[in-house]
Point group: C2
Chain length 101, copies 2
DNA sequence: ATCACTGTCATAGGGGCATAATACACATTG
DNA sequence: CAATGTGTATTATGCCCCTATGACAGTGAT
């Protein structure tokens, strides 16, 4: 969810992310869970921490995040989704407009 | 996985499914786990049990399964996948050929 | 210095799911 | 009848993730 927000520009490069407690409170989650998510993003270099201050979106994070998630999606997720679509006999035309629901 | 096998024709309508123990052994799973999966398919009417004999693919199961999973996919899965694709800036053309990996 | 804020760590508890090991009732076969 | 194979039920265990609660060190404002 946080990755999506960075990609969408909700949190731009250089912006400070909400504190783990604030973000947890806003989304009904546990601060520790948010902290783990932040830690994961930090490990991948998408955000950086200023000790005692907060987490900030790293410069170049959007582009790198898009590159990484594209590769992840195209190699991991999409092949299985494609198989599933084929198995159900769904035509590409049905996927273009959200009104098929 | 079992649903996919029924849709693919691995197990045709009227066919007997492998016993929970055999299927579990072949796939490195626990018989109870397979039994739960069979139970789920039974609840939805895709398979029927002959007491003391085994589980059999119900007549009309393929068509019903395709209808149900289509609805499930188009209303639940696809909208989120579509959002994800848009967020990553992936063009539909990149999704047609599996050689983008 | 004091306070409020930050990320981080430690401990404990709970829910979901798969596993593990039996046991039971039913059906077919020899 | 006895043996084998079927789905099903029971109980217990382990694993993983999230929650819950408290504490700590670093930073900035008052």
């Amino acid at each position: 969810m946080i990755s999506a927000m960075i990609l969408d520009g909700t949190y731009a490069e250089g912006d400070q992310l909400p504190s783990v407690r604030v973000f947890a409170s806003e989304h009904g989650a546990n601060p520790l869970t948010v902290a783990k998510a932040y830690q994961s993003l930090q490990d991948k270099g998408y955000v950086a921490v200023k000790r005692g201050i907060g987490m900030f979106v790293a410069s170049g994070a959007v582009e790198q995040l898009r590159i990484d998630e594209r590769a992840q999606f195209l190699t991991q997720s999409w092949p299985r989704i494609r198989e599933h679509i084929a198995r159900l006999g769904i035509e590409p035309a049905e996927l273009l407009d959200p009104i098929d629901a």
